[in-house]
Amino acid sequence: MPEVFLDGRPLSVANGTSVAAALALGADGCSRTSISGQRRAPLCGMGICQECRVMIDGYRRLACQTVCRDGMQVQTLP
């Protein structure tokens, strides 16, 4: 079971779990804050809407198209 870090907090997930799912398993499910200050969560689930973009190991990635790997550092965008 890979262990990821969501904004620094560790979380063990089943193999193959998407980062989008991990956000809901380990936190409130939100991925970013919009330009007018609303919290947002994954919407389309298939790499189109970009609502689920987070920082993963320093790169901006889509949570719905990224599979959790051991040691991954995920930061939701404030």
Binding site: V13, A14, N15, G16, T17, S18, A20, A21, A22, A24, L25, D28, G29, C30, S34, I35, S36, Q38, R39, R40, A41, P42, L43, C44, G45, M46, G47, I48, C49, Q50, E51, R53, Y59, R60, R61, C64, Q65, T66, V67
Partner: protein, 418 residues
């Protein structure tokens, strides 16, 4: 590292997989590219909570066994570098792929229409929720409302129930007469007929559509217009999708003509541009069976096996009939154009409201005045919504086609492949 291939296939859903498998016996060098972590597309998306059908597993195993098919997962097309050369990017690097022939299997996305509250966490697409659950999203014990249009609502509900969710309502905007008319035609496609029994749910209501998602910080309930009455349901998630629209952007950039909202193809699945083919949902919504046969035709045709392609025409015609019946039955009611209020956000990337857009003549004017469509999704969500709401046409996209790293763009300067 740049790559040269005989046949490049963009999209590894049913159409792309079938295309690769049909073309592989020719011995051509084939590259199959997809932006998801695994092949299968949306319908056969794998994950810790996915139950892949046997057919999907078989196709995946067959692909793995083809020594001349190279699969690039998690890879997006960023730009056209030169003629028949695309710049692509995965999580680590950017590189160029030069091809002789191309098959576009870019699929479809959900039409997401704005309504008050649709930006609240807890609101997703209908197919979106299904994809998220397959990837491990926990829904056990949650109260769900699924709304919008089309058979995807039932499929999404079935996946949610399998994983312990309580589906309170499936709200289908189409009329009872339309849905019944469609259902009575289903025996023409026996597989679909039996599938419909397994998916049917007694919380299904026709003539019912979403009015508003309720809640402050996240979703707490939903207001529906249900067969003439307004009702409210407390719930944890709302999954709302108004059917599927073809992903035509890359095809348009490559100069392939459109027919309606889809990429235009002939009997060989060839587009208007020579040596460029298209198959599956990007040529019009029709389901995985149609995508599989179209993909196979395109794969055979692209390697010159015309007789093998032609043998599949009758099967394609059968599934085209299904697609026509489906699209007619679930046509969207005009009432769905009136859900947004002045303060409802339409562009979720730049937070542009309906009121800021409604007075404009066209997409370009609205965009220049408001930044609508200029955010990370590049108008894929709001552009499609505004096409539906106002009849605006959105222009052919310009590169980069999706957010990309500077390092990948810099690789355009490198020596082209020889």
């Amino acid at each position: 590292m740049n790559e040269i291939t005989d046949l490049l296939i963009i999209g590894a859903g049913p159409a792309g997989m079938a295309a690769a498998l049909a073309a592989a016996p020719s011995g051509a060098r084939i590259v199959l590219l997809d932006d998801n972590p695994l092949p299968g597309g949306q319908i056969w998306r794998d994950g810790p909570q996915a139950n892949l059908p046997g057919k999907a597993r078989r196709l995946r195993d067959q692909l793995r066994a083809c020594a001349n098919v190279r699969c690039h997962a998690g890879t997006r097309v960023i730009a056209c570098a030169t003629d028949k050369t695309l710049l692509v990017e995965d999580a680590e690097r950017g590189w160029q792929i030069t091809y002789d022939r191309l098959i576009l299997c870019t699929g479809a996305r959900e039409l997401l229409l704005p309504f008050p509250g649709w930006t609240l966490p807890g609101v997703t697409g209908a197919g979106g929720l299904q994809a998220l659950i397959k990837g491990g999203l926990p829904v056990r014990g949650e109260r769900l409302v699924i709304a919008g249009s089309g058979p995807l609502l039932l499929a999404s509900a079935a996946t949610a129930k399998q994983h312990g969710a309580q589906v309170l309502r499936i709200a289908e905007q189409a009329s009872r007469a339309n849905v019944l008319g469609f259902a009575t035609q289903l025996p023409r496609w026996p597989g679909k007929f039996f599938q419909s029994f397994s998916l049917f749910d007694h919380h299904y209501r026709t003539d019912t559509h979403v009015l508003e998602a309720l809640g402050r910080e996240r979703l707490e309930g939903v207001r529906l217009q249900q067969q003439g009455k307004t009702i409210e349901l407390a719930c944890d998630r709302l999954a709302c999708g108004f059917g599927l629209i073809p992903n035509t952007q890359l095809g348009q950039v490559l100069g392939c003509a459109l027919e309606g909202r889809a990429l235009a193809v002939d009997a060989w699945q060839a587009t208007s541009r020579r040596e460029h083919y298209a198959a599956g949902e990007c040529t019009g919504f029709g389901g995985s069976e149609l995508a599989l046969v179209e993909g196979a035709i395109a794969g055979h045709a692209a390697v010159g096996h015309t007789a093998a392609a032609q043998r599949l025409w009758s099967r394609r015609a059968r599934w085209q009939g299904f697609a026509q019946a489906l699209n007619k039955a679930f046509a969207l009611d005009a009432r769905l154009k009136t859900l947004a209020r002045a303060d409802t956000l339409v562009c979720r990337c730049e937070d542009v409201s309906y009121g800021e857009l409604a007075g404009h003549e066209n997409w370009r004017e609205a965009k220049l005045a408001s930044r609508c469509g200029m955010g990370a999704c590049q108008g894929r969500v709001c552009g499609a919504a505004l096409e539906h709401l106002f009849g605006w046409t959105t222009p052919t996209p310009r590169p980069p086609f999706s957010p990309a790293r500077i390092g990948s763009l810099l690789s355009l300067e490198e020596t082209p492949p020889t």
